[in-house]
């Protein structure tokens, strides 16, 4: 029997935590890391008689994301209650949007090794996050912290248009960049400000109908998403090959065990009894308001790339990396605006910054140093006040603590010694102390000079101009 070829069909539900200062329906802070329940009030703890009022910024962010993903904006929209009982949800319903979500029928273009394609966006709706449950092993009970309760989310529901883990990751990267450029969220999977649920089914290549899908949760890195997709595809193929059926269910991915297990099946699926929330008034987005939000849309990556190609004399590769993070692109432009050469600024970002980010397992969004300090450091090198290796050392401190490099160089006495007399004296001593190297050099061993330069730099505590050292050495030899 011929081997069957299967196609994977994937749709995504992506939750994004919006970067507002306050919750969606009350004036409690959304700041991370407060003491348990310190950011709560009667509204976000579901007290009877409390009245939720929509945060205008939430709506504007949602509309901005909708516009960036080519959606139709629902100019008359409203909120609905999704009813379920669980201790993380103090109202016994989540305020969400079912009937008239704020955005519908959009798409984004993705690019993978297989080429370019559009991924459809079915809808984007606004909703509130739930509280956090902590399991207490000692007392065998659960503890609830409602600081996250009422934090604004948008849920972006794609069409089942993706066919591989590569496409899923390209789609998520695309969403992340658009939303970061908008400043609507920092979109960190690890920290949960972006969460993806993967709906996956398989079918024989060319089959007209979709297979039965499963939904996978708990995917908090791109790596986990790729693993989960491969794992679930294999599991479903195995079931079908054994003549069994795929059951429609929610599964939880365990990235350590590289296996997913069933959480709940369709049989005990919830009946959420959605109905319009009578506490919240309908929202009308007028044409004027929509134009205002449109006018505020930032320059997105594609436009930025085009402008960089025209404005700055730096390689395509650099442009690609720099624009892959809004924060890095802002930093680049601000440093160049302070009068530094684009290629030099780009080099500090591409080489030293990227290296330190990788070493510290940080994202470009976490870069703390200011453009003023990077510009000052580059100027020190341009003015030959410090040499390249000292600059790298200073940069590490700038990267970590955002210190003023001018002051730091001054305080630590790192300025290059431009006193030729002192330098010549040191080199004379080095030459006198290393007759073997001198002889090697005269015997044609070019490398020997490297050793002498090294010894000189060491004696000068790294504060000499290597060009000058080389020049004096050659003279003396």
């Amino acid at each position: 029997m011929a081997q069957k070829i299967y196609e994977t069909v994937i749709g995504l539900e992506v939750h994004v935590e919006l970067a507002t200062k306050t919750k969606i329906f009350c004036g409690c802070s959304t700041e991370f890391g407060g003491a348990p329940n310190s950011h709560t009030c009667p509204v976000c703890t579901g007290m009877p008689g409390s009245l939720p009022v929509l945060n205008k910024q939430v709506l504007e962010y949602a509309v901005a994301v909708g516009l960036a993903t080519n959606c139709n904006i629902t100019q008359y929209c409203k909120f609905d209650r999704k009813n379920y009982f669980y201790p993380d949800n103090p109202q016994n319903y989540q305020i969400s949007q079912l009937y008239l979500p704020i955005c519908r029928n959009g798409h984004v273009e993705i690019e993978t090794a297989a080429g370019k394609k559009n991924v459809g966006i079915h809808e984007i709706h606004m909703e509130e996050d739930a509280g956090k449950l902590i399991h207490d092993e000692w007392e065998d009970c659960s503890l609830v912290d409602y600081n996250r309760s009422g934090v604004p989310l948008i849920e972006i529901v794609s069409e089942p248009d993706m066919r591989s883990a590569d496409e899923v990751i390209a789609y998520l990267e695309k969403l992340r960049l658009l939303i970061q450029y908008l400043g609507a969220s920092d979109c960190k999977l690890q920290e949960g400000s972006m969460r993806a649920d993967v709906n996956l089914s398989i079918r024989e290549m060319g089959a007209p109908e979709f297979g039965t899908r499963t939904e996978m949760k708990n995917l908090n890195s791109f790596k986990a998403i790729a693993h989960a997709i491969d794992g679930e595809r294999a599991r479903q193929i195995e079931l079908l090959e054994e003549g069994k059926a795929v059951i429609q269910e929610t599964r939880r991915w365990d990235d350590n065990k590289e296996y997913s297990y069933a959480m709940r099946s369709k049989e005990d699926a919830q009946d959420y009894r959605y109905f319009p929330d009578p506490d919240l008034t309908p929202i009308v987005v007028s044409d004027e308001w929509l134009s205002e939000i449109k006018a505020k849309q930032p320059e997105f990556r594609t436009e930025k790339i085009a402008r960089y190609q025209k404005e700055f004399d730096i390689p395509e590769y650099d442009i690609d990396i720099i624009t892959s993070s809004k924060h890095m692109a802002d930093l680049f432009e601000a440093t160049v605006a302070l009068g530094r050469e684009p290629k030099k600024v780009s080099n500090w970002l591409m080489v030293e910054t990227m290296r330190l980010l990788k070493e510290n397992m940080m994202d470009p969004e976490d870069i703390k140093y200011s453009p003023e300090h990077l510009a000052a450091l580059i100027k020190l090198v341009d003015d030959k006040a410090i040499n390249g290796s000292v600059a790298k050392e200073v940069f590490e401190v700038v990267f970590k603590e955002d210190v003023d490099p001018v002051q730091y160089v001054e305080e630590h006495g790192l300025k290059t010694v431009n006193d030729e007399g002192a330098l010549r004296k040191t080199i004379e001593e080095i030459v006198a102390a290393n007759p073997q190297s001198v002889e090697d050099y005269h015997n044609g061993k070019e490398k020997a000079i490297g050793f002498l330069v090294g010894q000189t730099m060491k004696a000068m505590h790294g504060k000499a101009d290597p060009g000058m050292v080389n020049q004096i050495l050659k003279e003396l030899l």
Binding site: T20, K21, T22, C26, G27, C28, S29, A35, P36, N37, S38, H39, T40, C41, P42, T45, M47, V53, L54, N55, K56, Q57, V58, L59, K78, N83, F85, Y86, P87, Y99, L100, L133, I134, H135, D136, E139, D140, C141, S142, L143, V144, D145, Y146, R252, M263, D271, R273, P276, P278, L280, T281, P282, I283, V284
Partner: protein, 98 residues
């Protein structure tokens, strides 16, 4: 009464609402729900062609707050309503991951 609520339906609604009803209460609830549905059927007799579905009872729209923090630490008051408390958190019976 035109609408008859079955035993299965009342059982299911009870589960959804987390209500345990005695046999007498179930009978009463079946009757009540039946007459509510009869009332809705009455409304359904109206011709609503071309009428927009109503989504709110008051003619108000666009009630917003600005994104400004107005609340401080409300945990002391909020936790007064907690069934139990530990480490400034609500103590509830053990739950499993959803």
């Amino acid at each position: 009464m035109a609408n008859i609520i079955s035993d299965e339906t009342i059982e299911y609604v009870g589960i959804l609402a987390k209500l345990e009803l005695s046999p007498e209460e179930k009978e009463q609830a079946k009757k009540d729900m039946g007459s509510m549905l009869d009332y809705i059927d009455k409304l359904n007799e109206l011709d609503t062609t071309g009428v927009e579905p109503m989504s709110h009872v008051f003619p108000v729209q666009n009630v917003f707050r600005e994104d400004v923090v107005t609340n401080g630490d409300g945990s002391a008051d909020a936790l007064k309503n907690a069934p139990g408390m530990k480490d400034n958190m609500y103590k509830v019976p053990k739950t499993f991951d959803k």
